[in-house]
Symmetry: C2
Subunit: 160 residues, 2 copies
């Protein structure tokens, strides 16, 4: 019984620590996003203006609400889009996926993130679910997305 | 009533035509595969041995049974893997997806396709769901997959 109690106690402490790490306005790590709709992919090469940090091959994933948003152009609160960035290697006339560089997230919550178009922005380093990369509350992310106001600040478009 | 009858009749004729096109051993077009698990992606460049017809960026999708197979190494009948091949264009230090070249399919049915490792192979041209590309019952496809016998003839491996 003592060991069970200890496990329970440690679980609570880990949960508290993870939660405090996120902060009250933090965007959650998008659990299970690899099973969401794969929207599209793109490769950014060295020399691109967004090379740092976005050089690599990225895949865009949408949860159910975001998939609806991509069709209608309007995103309900709870819509989540993921920008999954991997390193790549050119080899024998192929380009192959490598290790994950970061996971970028847009999470729609009109009230909570009213200062950045209703979207919360976050990034997680590599395969970490706790090491957060966005330090300015998403202002710089939003700055780049702002021209896409007519598409509710989303760059990606649905394709067949 | 007459127009309804006509619509019903045309529907039946289309269904019969589609079915006869497939033939009794034909692999079905994988309806809805764009919502399946995105397994991985790869880009094949000009000059690669498989350039014709596989040059392009491809995404691999797995239905539920195939996703289980990727984890266990054993694929139940009904497992379907899709090789979704798109053209691409290099532009301004990016590589962007273009039009679809073909949709390749592996469909597991141990009895029906016992001559090709238990897998039925098929390809559909571009965005067509009826224009079939495989003319030899999948023998050449299987020839290339044969060295992967230890993985039940599947090249792809699951990644996070």
């Amino acid at each position: 019984m003592k060991s069970k109690l200890l496990v329970a106690l440690v679980s609570v402490l880990v949960a508290v620590a993870t939660n405090s790490y996120a902060g009250k306005d933090g965007v959650d790590f998008p659990q299970g996003y690899r099973n969401w709709l794969h929207v599209k992919s793109m490769l950014i090469q060295p020399g691109h203006a967004l090379e740092n940090p976005f050089q690599g091959i990225h895949h865009i994933y949408a949860n159910g609400k975001a998939a609806t948003g991509l069709k209608t152009g309007t995103y309900a609160d709870g819509s989540v889009l993921v920008f999954d960035l991997l390193n790549y290697a050119e080899k024998d006339k192929t380009i192959q996926e490598g290790e994950r560089k970061l996971v970028g997230i847009m999470h729609k919550d009109s009230a909570k993130y009213s200062g950045t178009g209703g979207w919360g922005f976050e990034g997680f380093a590599g395969n970490s679910k706790t090491e957060r990369l966005v330090k300015d509350g998403g202002k710089s992310c939003f700055g780049c997305h702002a021209p896409e106001k007519g598409k509710d600040y989303v760059f990606s478009a649905l394709r067949d």
